[in-house]
Symmetry: C2
Subunit: 365 residues, 2 copies
Amino acid sequence: MNRRKFVRTASAAATASAVVAAPAIAQSMPEIKWRAASSFPKSLDTLFGGLELFCRRVAELTDGKLKVQPFASGEIVPGLQVLDAVQNGTIELGQTAAYYYIGKDVTYAFDTAVPFGLNTRQHFAWWIHGGGREAMNEFYKEYGVLGIMFGGTGAQMGGWFRKPIQSVEDLRGLKFRIGGFAGQVLAKLGVVPQQIAAADIYPALEKGTIDAAEWVGPYDDEKLGFNKVAPYYYYPGWWEGAATGTMYTNSKSWNTLPPLYQRAVEAACAEVTLWMIGKYDHVNPAALRKLVAGGSKLSAFPVPVLEACMNAANELYAETVAKNAKFAKVYDSWKAYRNEQVLWFRVAEGGFDGFMARQSAQNKL
Amino acid sequence: MNRRKFVRTASAAATASAVVAAPAIAQSMPEIKWRAASSFPKSLDTLFGGLELFCRRVAELTDGKLKVQPFASGEIVPGLQVLDAVQNGTIELGQTAAYYYIGKDVTYAFDTAVPFGLNTRQHFAWWIHGGGREAMNEFYKEYGVLGIMFGGTGAQMGGWFRKPIQSVEDLRGLKFRIGGFAGQVLAKLGVVPQQIAAADIYPALEKGTIDAAEWVGPYDDEKLGFNKVAPYYYYPGWWEGAATGTMYTNSKSWNTLPPLYQRAVEAACAEVTLWMIGKYDHVNPAALRKLVAGGSKLSAFPVPVLEACMNAANELYAETVAKNAKFAKVYDSWKAYRNEQVLWFRVAEGGFDGFMARQSAQNKL
């Protein structure tokens, strides 16, 4: 580190002149202003609140020298163009969900969620220790960005339906607002997937232009009011066993940051990850109670429906592996990892959670 | 912040003298050396490895100015006296498990784990958003320490038994190496709880001085070789649905730290929390496979055994609430929080994990 040499030299000068003057701090801790754009609106206080916390922490960790200003979806770029804006250097940081960009390459999806994938804890293990971070950042190199894990929602809900889903047949012809990879899976079962921006979902569902819509979970869903126009609320969102957020940074910008600032950004992302997952778990129980009290009919998807969806997902995986080498490279190790994780989670975690769930169902807690 | 005023004054002086000299950095980022003692030996690379990572990160986040040196169990103080050493100022930081100190007050247990308590995600939510951090640190005030969440093991295993546990009757007279609060619960069912240090468990189990022992989970247990002398490996460790670590700091020492260093310590703790939980999930699957391949008989505790244990735990909670106002204060809100969390986890998380577990059991993944 050059700074050390500088400080030694500067100290010698100070001894000679005995003047305490312009701070050497400026050498190691330059003032830098960055902008971070979010894919999410301010109203989603768990998601956008995570970005605001990030900006505060980065400032605190750099003595106010690295100032990151947060911008909500649409303030600098539309929510779904955050990655592009980071890539082309319009902004230095972007809070988004990697799977918004599967139009570029479906490999992006692994960073957020893929159907019948990892749960939140398993994603942590894969990302931090199982080669996930390395595999995804190898893939990101050609896009000129670096991806850092940034919070998540936990397992999502399966969405709001105007009519009950009692069998695989009920999926046929269903106009379902669901994006990306999961939409392609469901298309194999006759669903007509719809891509609709958040603000337009409610009217479409109300008019019957669509039959169903998925969003996030009780807390975020309730804000959008879907319960008023679609009574059946299904779980689990098998396409998002964990939906993990990503903080992208432009690689060239990143390389200009002093190492202390890089570590500050990474540490703030870790803190936000815990904060956001905890926040969703904190606010979802009361939101779900409110929805159910308001008449929403909460049900699990029937097992045959889930099994048909998993078979369709496996078909799509096989097709994608055959035509996309980058996807195949991540998928093979990822799948083996997932299977080992699920096997382990059947034991201590599943044994504990399962017992507690049964006690709760029997009102014994 | 006084530093800002200082910098302005110093800059004015610099303009006058045009000499770049002694660094103002010394004002805001003084060189500080702290010591952190761990309750764990170096051989437990997930636990002690977390402390080593913490020390590296704190150094990186403070430009090497806050140097924390990690010490394993016994190097400065014995593993179970880490809290006392932080309290009396022998060390500034201590990595430990709060429930080691229930001899002082059982209220300590909430910070780590209590029987039939929260799982890892639920503990995150309670600690960060549900008032857990505030409640525990209010309790810690009289001890002159501050507690920061510091990693964890996830749900632990139920331990190693020389004979199978097929009914509640099999617990009667069982000499079981199990500590603290869980030992008191099991004593109500006729178990004779034993407190034995890690190194002495294996010979006691081999000789039959004890009938059973619990430790952590596959990865840590396998290192201690219990599988060689006790073939029955049970789950879940219902007394540790999440065993969460704590980093204690002496409150007076903490208050002398510049705010940037305080945030660096907190951010490093968050990063280690993700790292450690992920590490356990990463290493446990292979360790469990190895144990089972070596002949260990893996079983869930029978449901009637778990139910009897839960009833005994509830009895103990009621008795403890009646005689300990501090415990009661945390317990009441904690219990309501747990029940809401378990209710929510039955839905999206439980629905997803349960389906994946069944697919795994049917070899369909």
